[in-house]
Point group: C2
Chain length 416, copies 2
């Protein structure tokens, strides 16, 4: 039984002393790095744009030549096809073309009258007018992306364009095993009636696996999925030992409650952990636990989907970031107004799934709580779009309180 | 030359009359549908939980039996191992176990003293106390997810758990061809020095491809990438025709400016479009165009990365949603305070890349504009985390104005 609960911060400060394993990095083609975590600071190797280039279609000119141009008193220039221009000359350019030497501005085609190999310029253009300067986007040496960033496709484009064709990313791998003699994989089900037949025998579908597997992938991890093992101490121990040898972290789902059938804990104990703790002062995900074997963490998550999900993000993620020596991402929460009173039991931190919406008139964010209990309730994850955290020392919030929420999905406008 | 510009809404209202092609759907295993767009409303086929189950470790009881239980006057029950209980009986249960018949509540182990095959119950428990009721998460018939939703892994878990093992998703495919004799693919580059040598000859790396390819993937599309074709009218026409025969939409990047070398437009014209327009009253992405051939849209995007990106989201996305008969997703914008004055040219709608941050004290969102010009500036996409739209009729905003922003990446807290 979980007679004692600890705060997440307390467990973290203890367990991280024992987690000596560090996640290695690997050099990959930048092209293939979407979704990975960057293992180095990346700097521009070349200027971008790589040359002064025209930002419009028109004529590259010397700005001094057209200083006094106007519709009533146009300036006549000779159009040449050269890589450099002198006084009185212009070169026709398209958007993106390099500027010829000697030119320091581009007159838009709309401001020119074309007369054979001459043009009449109808307006002046300032020095560097309509020109994208070499290096104005990035200069060689500029920081493009910090170590620890999760790489998206905009980053890829910028790293490639600045000459970073290969980069170092963390080679982060997580082993996952789901336990429970009562769970069955969705792949083995043919139709809904089979689920109902199973249900009558107390058998449930393994949905937790997806939430954890995809959560891990979303932070750049490769996941080795072991499958489902029954509630058998030696089989669970064998799975964990095997996964531990090849991965940076092992996650075990199920069997974290403390009934007689709970064999996850005892199988982890049989591996001789240097640290083990079970029981967090949070709701849901109270029975979340963590152990350390050979310097690597073993995360014990609930078999219930929502509790497993919260346990992974609250306890698993800080441990993963620790093994990469990265300060945990400080993504901002948003401020909203609670639409009804919310109570919670004392001395637990609650992660309440809420549905937030934005007032289309003034932008106020309204926050409607979905459910405080129900660690298995997938509907709260589907209907909700944000998490509201209530600290241990509060008993809840009154209606109308300003609260912080962490969006987990896009917000919509409030319906009238 | 783009002598006339139209508003996005005007072009959309025109072009959609000619886009008669509709995107088909395909039945897939739910397991494999992450990132796809749902082509039907999906309802729960079974109740979830599939049975009344215990939410804690403890003893399933009849609540009437323990109505008067207290520490000073405990109620004695007999522990049985049966699938149903009668008066005075209890069954030991773990979290998640089905409730035996006859039981209507679970007493937590902590509130019980165990004495052989008897227990002393120290507290009463209300009817359905510590029980997750059958169907309390989803009832058979409940709407799980609406047609048009982009499917994430939480949706997958909920659809599987409610018996939806196969679902209909849109089979959305986009053909992409990049044009420009001056662009080269990142795959063909060995190191940064090669980029600099190319740069001296006016040759640039094809980064636009990633932004468009990944933007399209992010809305569930399969992308057939044709590669780079030079500025050759017949080659571009051939590529577009070929892609059009196999895809729902074709995107051409590059050659949308209006110089003499611009052959994209003329190659599209050679395909005999029923509709064609080029030139939007927006900034960046002014030269964005669209044509319709055989009822399918051909989107002409700038070769510059940021302009292409904006053009895809502003003009391409509504056309894709039209072909799926889906109302365009109404994702809410957020309200923030502009940190400095922002001016723009009249009669254009501006999409300004901004960096927004959240005040860690009161939650106010502060919005710093990065750059109004520079359709090629990748740095504004990297440093920015939101887009601020300024309508045509305004000349800009004063410092301190409340503005709407569309986040494109997570926001951070403001640094002090």
């Amino acid at each position: 039984m979980l007679r004692e609960l600890k705060r997440v911060e307390e467990v973290l400060s203890e367990v991280l002393k024992y987690v000596t394993h560090r996640i290695g990095s690997v050099r990959v083609r930048t092209l293939e790095a979407v979704g990975k975590i960057l293992a180095e600071d990346v700097y521009a190797k070349v200027d971008l744009p790589p040359f002064d280039r025209s930002a419009v279609d028109g004529y590259a000119v010397r700005s001094v030549d057209v200083f006094s141009a106007s519709s009533s008193s146009p300036i006549m220039l000779r159009v040449v096809e050269k890589r450099s221009i002198g006084p009185g000359e212009a070169v026709k350019v398209c958007t993106g073309d390099p500027l010829p030497e000697g030119a320091d501005a581009v007159v838009m085609r709309e401001h020119v009258v074309e007369r054979g190999d001459l043009i009449e310029v109808l307006r002046p253009v300032p020095r560097w007018g309509n020109v994208s300067r070499k290096g104005e986007d990035f200069r060689a040496g500029d920081l493009i992306l910090k170590r620890g960033s999760v790489i998206d496709y905009v980053h890829i484009a910028a790293m490639l364009a600045t000459g970073n064709l290969e980069i170092n990313v963390y080679r982060l791998s997580i082993g996952l095993v789901c336990t429970g003699s009562e769970i069955v994989e969705p792949e083995s089900i043919c139709d809904a009636s089979e689920i109902e037949r199973y249900a009558k025998r107390g058998i449930v579908l393994n949905t937790t696996r997806f939430l954890i597997l995809e959560s891990a992938k979303s932070v750049g991890a490769d996941v080795e999925y072991y499958g489902v093992v029954p509630d058998d101490r030696s089989k669970i121990g064998e799975a964990v030992r095997s996964l531990l040898s090849r991965n940076d972290m092992v996650i075990v789902t199920g069997g974290t409650a403390v009934g007689d059938r709970d064999v996850t804990y005892s199988s982890i104990m049989s591996l001789g952990p240097t640290y083990v703790w079970r029981g967090l002062a949070i709701r849901p995900a109270k029975p979340t636990g963590i152990a350390v074997v050979e310097g690597k963490p073993i995360l014990m998550l609930s078999g219930f989907p929502v509790a497993a999900y919260v346990g992974f993000w609250v306890l698993g993620m800080p441990v993963l970031y620790h093994m990469m020596s990265i300060e945990h991402n400080n993504i901002a929460m948003l401020r909203g107004v609670l639409t009804r009173r919310l109570a919670k039991p004392p001395s637990l931190r609650a992660y309440v799934r809420v549905r937030a919406c934005v007032d289309p008139e003034d932008g106020t964010i309204y926050v409607a709580p979905l459910a405080l209990t129900g660690s298995g309730l997938l509907s709260t994850l589907i209907k909700g779009n944000a998490i509201l955290e209530i600290p241990e020392e509060l008993e809840g919030y009154e209606e109308g309180t300003n609260v912080w929420i962490r969006p987990v999905r896009d917000l919509n406008y409030c319906e009238k």
